[in-house]
């Protein structure tokens, strides 16, 4: 059978049929087209949005962070003696955590913040001051624009040095000559040794900078805050961050860390773990809800189109009964007739689906451009859109083709 090119002939016949009945064929293809376009468009818009959000997380400093932050152990009333004796999150937790799985941990940073009066020759403001330790600067996606970051020595001794974000530098040194100048944080004179690069991230092109607050940073060594500003004998910190690039090791480590810190804290859970990757996973599972919604709307369009197609096919079958009869008289089996009708429907689906992909691309492009995010399309979306169309095209072609194949040749020949 293969050498006879029967498939080729059927395809040719189907093409002739489509071309001869252009209006009807276009109507039939339209349902497929809209379905494919809506699945592809929906997926692509949701992918673009998600990709943009992922980019934001990467710019924030990656997905490999596990944050430990203090949490109020007392919800109501006065603290018990045990709770009062609880020491809070402190340097020891960071050191202990690091010792747990030292090979998995790529870096530990800690933060001890304070609010303080910050004074330079140009400005005098009440500002948040970030005491930072460890590899805070790279871990949070900061880069040094001018000057340098803190040396280990400065970190260790809590040297009175400061690195400013762009907004802070502009506020306190509007002439742009911050480097080397001195300013006062609380009562402590500090020297500006560097400035950070500006942090910019816009979710949409015409939106405000989501990272504007990161440019307000006034960073000093954490030890400086702990020792000379608002620290205490227990060396409590506001946040400890572990970087664990191997995301598989993350959850095991988180559990170990939780146990360790809890035992250090006299079994009080006065801290919480915040796993950025888990947050992203949660967000992705939210995204898949949207995917399902988009898929559903596409499927509904395809089902609607499919039902219309069945109607059109059944109506057109009436015009073609005689043709079927002639084919049967000269030796076409019911199977052959079935294949012929299927080929026609599937060719139409293929063409409509292809047009739908083109429309879907255009559609996604317009939507993403209008909300100002870059268009991002994955091959999987194309496969889904086309695959669904093909599946439904096949399904809805079955009935009319079966009906045609069941015609009695004699009655079909006599049909006027």
């Amino acid at each position: 059978m293969k050498a006879s090119g029967a498939f080729r002939e059927r395809l040719f016949g189907a093409w002739v049929e489509i071309r001869e009945n252009l209006g009807r064929s276009v109507l039939q293809a339209l349902g497929v087209l809209l379905g494919v376009a809506s699945v592809l468009g929906g997926f692509s818009i949701s992918d673009s949005q998600r990709k943009r959000a992922d980019e934001m997380f990467v710019k924030m400093g990656g997905l490999d962070k596990l944050n430990v932050q203090p949490r109020a152990a007392i919800k109501d009333g006065r603290p018990t003696a045990l709770q009062q004796a609880n020491l809070g999150l402190r340097d020891a937790d960071a050191v202990g955590g690091e010792a747990l799985q030292s090979d998995a941990i790529q870096g530990v940073s800690r933060q001890k913040n304070t609010r303080s009066r910050v004074v330079s020759a140009y400005a005098d403001q009440d500002r948040q001051v970030s005491g930072i330790g460890g590899d805070f600067i790279p871990a949070n996606g900061y880069g040094i624009a001018q000057g340098r970051g803190f040396s280990n020595m400065e970190m260790e001794i809590g040297a009175p040095v400061v690195v400013l974000g762009t907004e802070a530098a502009n506020t306190f040194f509007p002439k742009g000559d911050a480097l080397g100048q001195s300013m006062r944080i609380g009562d402590i004179p500090v020297t500006v040794i560097g400035t950070f690069q500006e942090r910019v991230f816009r979710f949409r092109e015409n939106q405000g900078n989501q990272f504007w607050w990161r440019n307000r940073i006034i960073a000093v060594p954490a030890n400086l805050v702990q020792r000379r500003m608002n620290g205490d004998a227990y060396r409590r910190v506001d946040r400890v961050t572990f970087r664990i690039p191997d995301l598989n090791a993350m959850s095991g480590f988180a559990q170990q860390l939780k146990n360790l810190v809890k035992s250090n804290h006299r079994l009080q859970e006065d801290f919480r773990l915040d796993d950025v990757a888990a947050r992203v996973r949660r967000r992705q599972s939210q995204g898949s809800v949207y995917d399902i919604i988009f898929m559903l709307s596409g499927v509904l369009a395809l089902v609607g189109g499919g039902i219309v197609n069945v109607n059109i096919q059944m109506a057109s079958l009436k015009e073609r009964v005689r043709e079927v009869g002639v084919k049967m008289a000269i030796g076409a089996s019911g199977r052959e007739i079935f294949k012929g009708f299927m080929t026609e429907a599937l060719l139409l689906t293929a063409l409509g689906g292809f047009a739908g992909l083109v429309l879907g691309i255009g559609f996604s492009w317009i939507i993403t451009a209008s909300i100002g995010i870059p268009l991002y399309m994955t091959p999987a979306s194309f496969v889904w859109a086309y695959g669904l169309a093909a599946a439904f095209g096949f399904l809805f072609a079955l009935y009319p083709a079966w009906k045609a194949s069941r015609l009695s040749p004699m009655e079909a020949l006599r049909y006027e």
Partner: protein
């Protein structure tokens, strides 16, 4: 030698019980290889039904039918299609060409169903068109041809798989007398080449061309003239 057509007690009943219509009431017909038989009878006589059964378009209610050595009664649709394809060539009053396919594709179609290769199919189709005298129209669509030419195409198509039986149902019914005569000449020529012909007509002058005339009346063979 086996006859091409042999029917014994062929009956056909349409409908059921109360409303049953007996189109055929017991036809015993034998057609030998190379015969030219005319099937005549008024409308409603059952000749169309008989032709449909002889052409394997329909199955008899009772009786046996053997076509070129094959038992036909009781076969499934797919088997019948195969027999139609291989053993029967139809020529209809209204030509019944596929309007959207070119002449040569129309002639190729039975061979396509028979699984003949593309190249051979084309060669044989062109040879057949040559034989019926319209090779120059091979790439035209049926609508561009005259009635006589269309019927020639239909004949070429009917001959495509070298059938054991050529069935013609009022082949000149839609043609004027001149082109009708030309088509009949073609049939005579085919007969002289050894083809077995069964011609259904109501026109006695056309029936006169056949070697044998079988008249059907009320579902039975009324008269047989000529050599059996």
């Amino acid at each position: 030698m086996n006859p091409i057509i042999q029917t014994v007690g062929l009956t056909k009943v349409y409908g059921a019980n109360g409303a049953a219509v007996h189109a055929l009431r017991g036809i015993d017909l034998t057609v030998e290889k190379g015969e030219f038989v005319a099937l005549i009878g008024p409308s409603g006589s059952g000749k169309s039904t008989l032709m449909a059964i002889l052409g394997c378009l329909d199955l008899p209610t009772e009786g046996t039918y053997t076509l070129d050595g094959r038992q036909v009664q009781g076969l499934a649709g797919g088997e019948l299609a195969r027999i139609r394809n291989e053993k029967v060539g139809f020529v209809f009053q209204s030509y019944n060409l596929l309007p959207k396919a070119s002449i040569v594709r129309n002639v190729e179609l039975p061979m396509l169903y028979a699984g003949v290769g593309r190249k051979e199919r084309r060669e044989r189709a062109l040879a057949l068109l040559e034989k019926v005298g319209i090779a120059d129209k091979a790439d035209k669509l049926p609508a561009t041809l005259s009635g006589g030419q269309k019927q020639r195409v239909a004949v070429a198509r009917a001959l495509a798989n070298e059938p054991a039986l050529l069935l013609a149902d009022e082949p000149t019914g839609a043609l004027d007398s001149k082109t009708g005569a030309e088509v009949l000449d073609l049939f005579r020529e085919l007969h002289s080449q050894g083809n077995t012909l069964l011609l259904v007509t109501h026109d006695p002058s056309i029936a006169a061309l056949a070697e044998r005339r079988v008249e059907i009346r009320d579902g039975l063979i009324a008269v047989t003239e000529g050599v059996a």
